[in-house]
């Protein structure tokens, strides 16, 4: 009788075990991700300043936020940065992938060179580009010392151009990764179709335009999703490269949120800006994940 109960317990344990094993991760995720999201969203409706406080103020933080020129600047910068960053990375990545796909001799070595920036921290990338672009010691100074005395390149110190240096460094860091995604896509394309089209006399240009690039749609989609979420999260690079300056020329929503929350003691407004960042990413990620997971069923 006792044996029977024991065996029963064992089978029940076996059926419960998978869920038991999963539960710590689920609990962590529910509390630290979704619970925290709810808490931050809640804070964005409160009068929190230095510390969380629970006086309800409705949409006041949001209306204040949208009236701040600082926020407006960071959104405009984000629009400039994200559109250039995504476009350049995509075209550069696709171009390099197509070129690398032409039975290139040292392909492995070139791939390694294009990809290694991905392994670096944005702080390292930021430091290297910061000093290279610095007019006092970097490119401008070098060119002048080489005899081109009228050479000027002060973008990183120039309010109107500093945002493009952030684009440059960010493209440098991630375009190789996009290249790898497209290269994997190119290697998956069926050669038989290409050969058939070649027999019909199609030019290389037409092969790429009509057959190959349309087949890379999934790679384009993944690249877009990954790049746009990276763009919205960009923080370390700006901190290391320009510190948000000169002035506010390279402030982005992520740096805005950080300074309002932790140095200006405007936690309510900080939480409101974080909520808007989350919404933006959710609008891109949720449809993508939904489609991916449904497909895979």
């Amino acid at each position: 009788m006792a044996m029977q109960a024991n065996a029963d317990f064992k089978t029940r344990l076996q059926t419960l075990l998978p869920k038991l094993v999963l539960s710590p991760s689920l609990a962590l995720m529910l509390v630290f991700v979704y619970g925290f999201i709810l808490f931050s969203v809640y804070l964005s409706f409160t009068d929190s300043r230095l510390l969380p406080s629970y006086g309800w103020v409705g949409f006041e933080n949001y209306s204040k936020l949208w009236r701040l020129s600082h926020w407006e600047t960071s959104l405009i910068n984000m629009a400039v940065f994200a559109s250039l960053y995504i476009t350049i990375c995509t075209f550069l990545g696709l171009g390099l992938a197509i070129f690398l796909d032409q039975k290139i001799r040292a392909e492995g070595m070139l791939r390694t060179i294009y990809l290694y920036p991905m392994a670096l921290s944005f702080i390292v990338t930021g430091t290297a580009w910061k000093w290279f672009l610095d007019p006092g010691i970097g490119l401008e100074n070098v060119m002048q010392s080489w005899g081109w005395t009228s050479f000027e390149f002060d973008w990183i110190k120039n309010r109107d151009f500093a945002i493009y240096t952030v684009v440059l460094a960010a493209v440098w860091q991630t375009s190789g990764f996009v290249m790898a995604m497209f290269l994997a896509g190119l290697r998956g394309i069926d050669n038989e179709i290409l050969k058939a089209a070649q027999m019909d006399g199609a030019s290389n240009w037409n092969l790429y335009r009509r057959i190959i690039i349309p087949q890379l749609r999934p790679a384009f989609l993944s690249a877009f999703v990954i790049l746009s979420h990276l763009a919205i999260k960009t923080f370390d690079l700006v901190i290391a490269l320009t510190g948000g300056g000169p002035g506010r020329a390279t402030e982005l929503p992520a740096t805005f949120m950080y300074s309002y929350t932790f140095s200006r003691n405007q936690m309510g407004i900080g939480a409101a800006s974080a909520t808007i960042m989350l919404m933006t990413i959710a609008a891109i990620m949720i449809p993508y994940l939904y489609a991916e997971l449904r497909e895979k069923k």
């Binding site: 076996q14 075990l17 999963l22 070139l110 990809l115 010691i137 070098v142 998956g188 909520t275």
Partner: protein
């Protein structure tokens, strides 16, 4: 993906090929440029840099900047160099990578081989968690670490990195185990093998490639993290990235660019080494996992 490594059928003429090689080499120079700048300038005296010689090879070779960056440069208020922060990063990265990888393997196993109602939704929730802007969790996380008594500690950072790393590790293992033949699992069950026995004896021995992917991914992300380090670390748990930023941004005294470059290389070395040594296993492992999830 069986055709993953085939050559393209496209044929190109000689002139076009020369052009292609030219472009490819030019871009490799673009990608190598910052590395070149960091390396050459980290081994020359400061006046060679400020005198307009950033692109030149060093005239006087010195490892002084490296020694200074490692052990005596001013970081914040202490002239400790980057070495204590390097060890802080190691103490944070090793447990965080190990724990998140183990949890990811177990989650992937459950989500593919012990499926239950709504498991896809749960997985979707985990996956979305990978992509949230971390700004949305900074404030409550700071509170929570305080409540748990982990504010400003390495253990606190380990917890943070485990929590926000599980999504990715679960994704990798789930996609990898999804193509593992379920019949083998069922057969083992009929033979009386239990949940952990099946994992230990059947799945784990063939998990090498995806474990490499998970470890490399987590190691790179956690080592390179700045936001969590800057937000939650205390004076004696700051990771390397935060210390490097403090070194470079210091507003007092002479800017020692050569020391900054040496420090940047020190901060980059571990992940670069991992990439050079194991990068090809990373790509191979990813391919094996992405056959069809």
């Amino acid at each position: 993906m069986s055709v993953a490594s085939q050559d393209t059928a496209i044929r190109t003429g000689r002139a076009v090929r020369v052009l292609i090689y030219l472009v490819l080499v030019l871009f490799s120079l673009f990608y190598l440029l910052p590395l070149y700048v960091m390396v050459v300038n980290s081994v020359k005296p400061l006046d060679e840099i400020t005198g307009g010689g950033m692109m030149n090879l060093p005239q006087v070779f010195t490892i002084e900047p490296w020694l200074k960056a490692w052990s005596s440069a001013q970081i914040g208020v202490e002239p400790t160099g980057l070495s204590p922060y390097f060890w802080n990063s190691i103490k944070m990265v090793v447990p965080a990578v190990a724990i998140s990888t183990v949890l990811g393997a177990l989650n992937g196993y459950v989500l593919t081989k012990w499926r239950f109602k709504y498991d896809t939704i749960l997985f979707g929730l985990m996956l979305f968690a990978c992509f949230i802007p971390f700004q949305i969790v900074l404030i409550p996380m700071a509170r929570m670490l305080g409540l748990m008594g982990l504010a400003g500690t390495t253990s606190g950072l380990v917890l943070v990195h485990v929590v926000y790393g599980i999504g990715f590790t679960t994704l990798y293992f789930r996609n990898y185990y999804a193509v593992f033949p379920t019949e083998l699992i069922r057969a083992a069950q009929i033979d009386g093998a239990g949940f952990f026995q099946i994992f230990w004896r059947i799945l784990l021995p063939s998990s090498g490639p995806i474990a490499v992917v998970s470890v490399i991914w987590q190691f790179t992300n956690i080592w390179n993290d700045f936001l969590f380090g800057a937000s939650f670390a205390g004076a004696d748990s700051q990771p390397m990235t935060v210390a490097l930023n403090n070194l470079v941004q210091a507003s007092h005294g002479v800017k020692e660019y050569n020391v900054h470059f040496a420090g940047a290389i020190l901060a980059a070395l571990p992940t670069l080494l991992v990439y050079i040594v194991a990068g090809r296993y990373f790509v191979r492992g990813l391919m094996a996992g992405s056959v069809k999830g």
